[in-house]
Amino acid sequence: MWRTSLAVAAILLAGAAQAQQQPAKITDEVVKLGILNDQSGTYADLAGPGSVAAARMAVEDFGGTVLGKPIQVVFADHQNKPDVGSSIVNRWIDVDQVDAVVDVPTSSVALAVQEITRNKNRVHLNSTGGTSDLTGKACSPTAVHWTYDTYALANGTGTAVVKAGGDSWFFLTADYAFGHALEQDTANAVKKAGGTVVGAVRHPFPNNDFSSFLLQAQASGAKVIGLANAGADTINAIKQAREFGIVQAGQRMAGLLVFLSDVHALGLDTTQGLTLTTGWYWDRDEQSRQWAKRFAERMNGRMPTMVQAGVYSAITHYLNAIKAAGTDEAKAVVAQMKKMPVNDFFAKNGKVREDGRMVHDMFLVQVKKPEESKGPWDYYNIVRTIPGDEAFRPMNQGNCPLVQQAEAQPAGR
C-alpha cells in the first residue's frame, strides 16, 4: 500500500516540478473561460444565458483553439450573492483550471471576484457589473471592465438631459449602495452641467408600488425624474409613471440603468420618450446588425443587450491578446490587451486604459414612439454619440492605485 502511495506522490511531485520549470505558455493545455452570472433571477434576461451564448459564439468565431490549444466555455449561476459567486470562482480556479472569469453582473459579486482573481492571478473580464469602483479603488492588473459603468451612464444621461433643457432633477433612488452611488454620480453631472437637484426619495429595495414616490416627485415640480434604480424597480416605476400621467403632465423620465430587455418587457407604449445611455445598440451599423442577427438566431429571436455584445467583444480581444503575447499568464495577457486597440462590431478604436477601463464611445438614445418602430426590437433613436474620453471618468479621478493620481482628490465615494 505504502508503495503505491509513494509512487503517486512521486508522480505528483514530478508533475509539479515540471510545471514550474516550463515557462508558462498555455498552462494545463487548455484556455478555459468561466461565465459567471445570474442565470434565472433579476438579471437573467439582460445577461444570463445570452452571455453564455455570446461567449460560445466568440470561441467558435475564433476557431476553437488558440496557440494550438483548445478553448472551453463553462458557466455558473451566482444567484446575485457574493458568497455563492466567491466559492464558484475559487473552485473554478483551484480545481477546474479556469483562466478567465467573464461577465459577472451585480456589483457586490463583481467586487468579490475582482479580489479573488487579483490574488490568484487570473483574468477578470467584466461586462455586466456596474460599479465604477472596478476601475477605481478596487482596480486590478488582471481585470478589464468592458461595456459600461455607473459613472458613464450617470454622466452621459445627466449631462445630456440638462443640456436639452431638463435642468431641475428629482431622484427616485433604490435604498442601497448601488442606488446611492448612481444618484450621487448623476447629481454631480447635473450640477456640473448647470442644473439643480430639488430632492430625492429613497425607496426600499425591491419595491412594488411607486405611486406614492411618484406623487412626491410630481409635487416637487422638478422637470426631470431620475430613476436611480435597476431591473424590476425601474420597470415598475416607469409603468406607474405612465399610469399617473406624469409624463403627459410635462415631466420627463430619465432611466439611469435601463437595458434593451427592460424596454422590451415594458413595451414602447409605456417607455416612449425615455432618455437613457447605452454602451452599444444592435441597430447601429451593418456590422453590429449582422452580429446581432446571428445572436438572435441562437436565442429564439431575442436581440442582444449591450452587455451580451460586450461579452463577445471582450473574449475576442482576450483571445487575440493570448495569441499576441504567446502565453495565458494573467498579467501578461492583460498588459497585452492594453497595448492593442479594440476594433470590432462593438467598439471603434476602443482602448483598454491602465486602470482596466475599456474606453469606447457611448450612445445617448431616446426610446422610439410606437409608430416610429418598424418591428420588434426596433426601439432606440441614437440622439448623440458620446466620445469615450468624455463618457468615462478621467483616469486620475478614480483613486486606482495602478495609476498616478491627480493632486488633492476630495475624499468622495
Binding site: A44, D45, P204, N207, Q240, T270
Partner: protein, 295 residues
C-alpha cells in the same frame, strides 16, 4: 396654505388614497388566506404563487385566446381555482389531521416549484398587460390625479370582500361551512359532504388570490416573482388581524395599506418594515391578533 405635520394637505390626501389602493390588494389576499386557515387549518404558502398565476392566466387569455380584461376577470379565477381544487384533492387532503406544519411545508414547496417553472418559461423581466380601454385615463380630483383603474381596484376589492363575508356569515351555506369546521363528524352525520365542502373552500380561497392577481396585472409588471414579494406582507396582515378572522383580515388589510402609504411620505426608507414593527407590537400586546379569538 396650511400644512399638516409639514406636509401640504393635498399630498396627504393623495397618499391616504394610494394607501387605500394598496390596502385593497392586502385585503383580498389576506381574506383568501384567512378563509383557508379558518376553515381548513392550512397555512397556504402557495397563495403568492396563485396570485401570480392569476395575473399570468389573464396575460395568457389575452395573448393566446384574445380574451380581454373583463372575461379574464371571471375566467382567470375559475381556472386557477380549479388548479387549487386539484391541489386540495390530491395533496392537501392527505395531510388532514396532521400538524399544520406539514401543510405549510407542502404549500411552501409548491410555491417554489410553480414560481420556478414560470421563471423557466417566461423569464424574469416581466410581461406587459395593458389597462382595459374602458378604464384608461383618470380624473383630476383636485388634490391628485386618480387613474380610473386604481379607483376600480378599490371598488372591486371592497365588493369581493363584502360578498365573501356575507356568504360566510349570513347564508345557510356559510353556516354549514362554519359548522363543518367546528365539528366535521357531526355535520357529516347530517348528510353533508364535508370533504367536498373543504375542497371547494380551498378552491374559492385560491380563486380570490387569482382575482387579486388579475386586478394587479395592469398595474404591476406580470412577473413570476410578483407574489413572492407580496405574500410576506400579507402574512403579517393576517397575523395582525388575527388568524382566521375574516372581517379582521379585511379591515387590517385596508388599514395597514394606509399606514404604509403614510410611512412612504414621512420616512420612505422604513415603508417596507413598518408593517412588521406593527406586527411585533400587536403580538406583544394581543397575541391572538386585533380581531382574533383568544384560544
Amino acid at each position: 396654505m396650511f400644512e399638516l405635520i409639514g406636509i401640504p394637505p393635498q399630498a396627504l390626501f393623495g397618499q391616504l388614497l394610494l394607501g387605500l389602493i394598496n390596502g385593497a390588494f392586502y385585503a383580498v389576499l389576506s381574506l383568501g388566506l384567512a378563509l383557508i386557515f379558518g376553515l381548513l387549518n392550512i397555512i397556504n404558502f402557495t397563495h403568492g404563487a396563485q396570485y401570480m398565476m392569476g395575473a399570468f392566466a389573464a396575460w395568457l387569455l389575452l395573448n393566446l385566446a384574445g380574451l380581454g380584461y373583463w372575461p379574464a376577470l371571471l375566467l382567470a379565477p375559475v381556472i386557477v381555482g380549479v388548479t387549487g381544487v386539484l391541489i386540495e384533492r390530491f395533496l392537501l387532503k392527505r395531510l388532514r389531521g396532521l400538524d399544520p406544519l406539514y401543510g405549510l411545508l407542502l404549500t411552501f414547496g409548491l410555491a417554489l416549484i410553480v414560481e420556478g417553472a414560470f421563471r423557466q418559461v417566461y423569464g424574469v423581466s416581466g410581461l406587459a398587460y395593458p389597462v382595459p380601454p374602458s378604464l384608461a385615463g383618470g380624473v383630476n380630483l383636485g388634490f391628485m390625479f386618480l387613474p380610473l383603474y386604481r379607483g376600480w381596484v378599490v371598488l372591486a376589492s371592497i365588493v369581493a370582500c363584502l360578498v365573501t363575508w356575507a356568504v360566510i356569515e349570513r347564508t345557510r351555506l356559510g353556516a354549514t361551512l362554519r359548522a363543518a369546521t367546528e365539528n366535521p363528524a357531526l355535520v357529516q352525520a347530517f348528510g353533508v359532504n364535508v370533504p367536498r365542502l373543504v375542497t371547494l373552500t380551498y378552491g374559492f380561497g385560491v380563486a380570490l388570490a387569482a382575482f387579486a392577481g388579475v386586478l394587479a396585472a395592469p398595474i404591476y409588471s406580470v412577473h413570476p416573482l410578483m407574489g413572492a414579494n407580496l405574500i410576506i406582507v400579507v402574512f403579517a396582515v393576517v397575523v395582525i388581524g388575527g388568524m382566521g378572522s375574516i372581517l379582521g383580515s379585511v379591515l387590517t388589510g385596508f388599514g395597514l395599506g394606509v399606514v404604509e402609504g403614510l410611512t412612504k411620505v414621512f420616512w420612505p426608507e422604513a415603508s417596507n418594515t413598518v408593517i412588521f414593527v406593527i406586527m411585533a407590537i400587536v403580538l406583544l400586546i394581543k397575541p391572538a391578533g386585533l380581531f382574533g379569538r383568544a384560544t
